[in-house]
């Protein structure tokens, strides 16, 4: 009797492990609308953090879900490429660029105030947030 229970339990464990492994293997990329922001600040503050101390800012923000508020400078992209919402930073040479899926319709005009969250992937002339979602 005990042996049978043991065999059943072991089979269940193997099946559960298999399902877990299969799901883990096929897990898609997380989108920002599925998760809570870990840090909240203004686009200007985020940009300044990277331009004044890139290594320090990488520690603080890169790989995190960052929520930024700011003024829209420009919306570009689309046509099969990701849609980008560029937020003002107080520096004409750089923006906080929020990347959205190519099929997203963004109804924001330059000058509009917005709050966006996304996965921060670092600084390369602009600060980049990916797989973004509009908060408000």
């Amino acid at each position: 009797m005990n042996k049978r229970i043991l065999i059943i339990l072991m089979t269940l464990a193997v099946v559960a492990g298999g399902i877990y492994g299969y799901r883990e293997w096929n897990r898609g990329l997380e989108q920002a609308n599925e998760v809570k922001a870990e840090v909240t600040l203004t686009a200007e503050e985020l940009f300044k953090a990277y331009t004044s101390d890139e290594a320090g800012a990488n520690q603080k923000f890169t790989d995190k879900v960052v929520q930024v508020s700011g003024t829209v400078r420009e919306v570009n992209g689309g046509n099969g490429s990701p849609v980008n919402v560029l937020l003002e930073t107080g520096d004409p040479l750089g923006a906080v660029v929020c990347e959205f899926a190519a099929d997203m319709t963004i109804e924001l005009k330059s000058g509009a105030k917005t709050t966006v969250k996304g996965f921060c992937t670092g600084y390369n002339l602009d600060v980049l947030l990916q797989r973004c979602a509009i908060v408000e």
């Binding site: 293997w25 890169t62 490429s81 990701p82 990347e99 990916q130």
Partner: protein, 187 residues
């Protein structure tokens, strides 16, 4: 400096700016597309980055290029995690950078619409390793005056000290195919 000379020098600077910028017309992009593909009989892995930054100066041929490693997106989250943590070590080496020049086209060629076969040569740095590279590319001049640049080339993981453990050799190709597409705007 008196007020008068300040105004005079300001006027001089204003006069000079258009001629200077005209003589050094450069092209730039912040939305370059870099895709790579690893293909084996077992698995095809692809990743895309739509935020390559690049500056190209047709007068000198100078070309610079940078991508954030973490900005490459994969179909599966696990692939992206392994790529960043195990192979590219992107916390330590966050960017891939190219510095070099374009050979085979003149600034005058790029003033009129047309397609040009060129060679790009220079130094590619990633994962803390720099290598001299030479690749073929094309530059198309659009009727609007913007440039479209394309290049396909191969990167060997081993050349950049990217260690692929033998357990996953069947899943990950030693030679990675890279595709670069950039639309340059006048700066």
């Amino acid at each position: 400096m008196t007020m008068n000379t300040t105004i005079k020098s300001l006027a001089l600077v204003c006069l000079l700016i258009p001629t200077l910028s005209n003589a050094q017309e450069r092209f730039a992009s912040r939305t370059g597309h870099v895709a790579f593909r690893s293909e084996t009989t077992v698995e095809t892995i692809e990743a895309n980055n739509h935020k390559a930054t690049s500056v190209y100066d047709p007068n000198t041929g100078a070309l610079e290029f940078a991508v954030l490693i973490k900005a490459f997106e994969f179909e599966k989250a696990l692939m992206q995690e392994h790529f960043n943590e195990n192979y590219m070590e992107s916390n330590t080496y966050p960017k891939a950078v190219f510095k070099g020049k374009v050979v085979g086209v003149t600034a005058a060629d790029l003033k009129k619409p047309g397609k040009h076969d060129v060679t790009v040569e220079g130094e590619l740095t990633m994962h803390g390793v720099s290598n001299k590279v030479t690749n073929k590319a094309t530059i198309s001049v659009e009727p609007t005056g913007t440039l479209k640049a394309e290049s396909n080339f191969v990167i060997k993981a081993e050349d950049y000290k990217i260690d692929i453990p033998s357990v996953v050799r069947k899943q990950i190709a030693e030679e990675i195919q890279v595709k670069v597409r950039i639309d340059y705007q006048k700066m």
